[in-house]
Amino acid sequence: MFHLNISIFSKTKSLENKIDLFHDKLLDAAMSFKKAVKVFLNEGRSDDYRKISKQIKQIEHDADNLRRDIENKLYSQNLIPDLRADVLQLVENLDRVINKFDEVAYMFFIEQPEIPQEYHNRINELCDQVAECAENMAKASRAFFRDLSSVRDYSQKVYFIEHETDLSSGNLRKSIFESDIPLANKMQLSSFINQIADIADIAEDFIDELLIFTIKRDI
């Protein structure tokens, strides 16, 4: 019996760690993405950029493995039967954001867009915003598992930053289309900005769901 209890607690602890680790991956992805764009804007597709881009790919790969492991353990050990579907959805959606960071970083690598110097600061600012949005999303999600009362605080931050991101990306696209650069470049830059801003939109959708799940989780 004693052995059984120890085994139950150790399994539980291991899964808790994996969920924490998964959230860490999102934070890592957000920070690396911010850094990657800064490096790209300064140096283009340099060795440093390749290195950071690889790092993001590795984070995405590790996150995928963790996600599968978490999903597998939740089902095979029949844990949280009433909230399992919700938790699986949350994990899937967190993974979507990590995938998006990787996807956009890879787009920079492949397409190597020519970005005029005048937009560098504003693109950096936009990337900082989406990274902050993702960070707060990770904090809100972590709070769902440990501290329900904080979920709302972080969610509110996500909503606020997402709104700021919309404004920033809108203004940036407007000034790009008002500029004299060729239309093909305009289209390409606009697409990049849309892709970056999408990260904040995914975070917002995630928070919408998280708040509903929080009501369900509150006893």
């Binding site: 139950i8 899964l15 844990l79 009433d82 440990r146 501290d147 329900l148 009362s149 006893i219």
Partner: protein, 350 residues
């Protein structure tokens, strides 16, 4: 041992079986329905603890029924238990919240009327008062536990996965306590009417451990309840877990604990002695309905959560049951005793 005894006991055993099939779901229903606890685990734990509760703590509530009417022949006891069983079957058909306690009390009154024995009104009013008080008390306890557990969870910052693990262990412990309390409180419904006419002998296991004749009777009743749990409760548990009352496992834990405390309060002689010896008001030892205790607890939590209106329809059904169940059981018992005595020539009272 006389075989006729078991023939007459069969109605009580049937009553025990149906009680096990129905009431075990109040203890482990959500846990099994939501797959937090395996049915096999639930069956083993509830069977064991129902028998323990019945044998070691079943006499208190049973004595109260004895004071209401001490049925002194086996055919009389047989018919009282059968009348209760028929009433329960009928009430289930009418979708009323079933209470074995109310049916058996009605049957005893039917026997009292038939045998022209007086019914102790003080005891009767005490019993009826308890029925009304039971869901209310269960609701109050549930609210208290709900608020406490909510505050503990908020402050402890327990991880969801860890909380799930504790809930699972809590459901098993609460289930064991609930089964013990159910056995202690409700064995009186199943075997209470046979106590006076019980021909069983005490059994010795070595020099230290023995069961007196009533405990042997309660053991048999406990086994009947356990068979009910093992053979028929899964269907009811699945219905409870997935249908009628959809609750989270943690809520289910609150409900099971509240219900178990109420059943224990109305069954424990030890607690009664303790309260009386400290000049505190003690609760009467009366068999109460676990289903109604559950309904009380669920409604209590509903009110505590706010935004939930009281289900007046369900309350009305319970209140109607307090009156109709005993009356129907008394009538069936009275008429059946007449047939048993005059058609089958059995001595139904002395």
């Amino acid at each position: 041992m006389d075989l006729t005894f078991f023939l007459f006991l069969s109605s009580g055993l049937f009553l025990g079986w149906s009680l096990g099939a129905n009431d075990a779901s109040n203890i482990f229903g959500t846990a099994v329905g939501t797959k937090m606890v395996k049915f096999r685990t639930a069956t083993i734990i509830s069977s064991l603890f129902i028998i323990l509760g019945a044998v070691y703590a079943g006499s208190g509530a049973s004595q109260t029924l004895g004071h209401l009417g001490s049925i002194n022949t086996l055919p009389g006891a047989f018919m009282a238990a059968l009348a209760a069983a028929i009433t329960i079957f009928w009430m289930v058909e009418l979708s009323m919240p079933i209470s074995t306690s109310q049916a058996i009390v009605g049957a005893i009154i039917g026997w009292n009327l038939f045998s022209s024995k007086p019914t102790d009104i003080t005891i009767l009013s005490q019993i009826v008062g308890t029925w009304i008080f039971c869901p209310i008390l269960s609701g109050i306890i549930a609210v208290f536990i709900y608020w406490s557990i909510k505050s503990i969870i908020r402050k402890s910052h327990l991880h969801l996965i860890r909380q799930d693990c504790y809930t699972r262990i809590g459901l098993i412990i609460a289930g064991a306590f609930g089964a013990y309390a159910l056995g202690a409180n409700n064995i009186a419904n199943v075997m209470g009417v046979f106590v006076e006419a019980n021909p069983l002998k005490e059994i010795h296991f070595g020099s230290f451990f023995y069961l007196n004749s009533t405990q042997v009777l309660f053991f048999i009743g406990g086994v009947a309840i356990s068979i009910g749990v093992g053979t028929y409760s899964k269907k009811v548990m699945d219905t409870i877990g997935n249908g009628i009352m959809k609750m989270s496992p943690l809520m289910a834990w609150v409900v099971v604990v509240s219900q178990s405390i109420v059943l224990f309060l109305f069954a424990s002689q030890g607690l009664q002695h303790f309260l009386l010896s400290h000049d505190l008001p003690a609760l009467p030892l009366v068999p109460v309905s676990s289903s109604q205790a559950v309904i009380g607890a669920v409604m209590g939590i509903g009110i505590a959560k706010g935004g939930h209106d009281l289900n007046w329809g369900l309350i009305a059904k319970i209140a109607i049951g307090w009156i109709t169940t005993p009356i129907i059981a008394a009538l069936i018992c009275y008429v059946s005793l007449f047939f048993l005595q005059n058609v089958f020539g059995q001595v139904v009272y002395i």
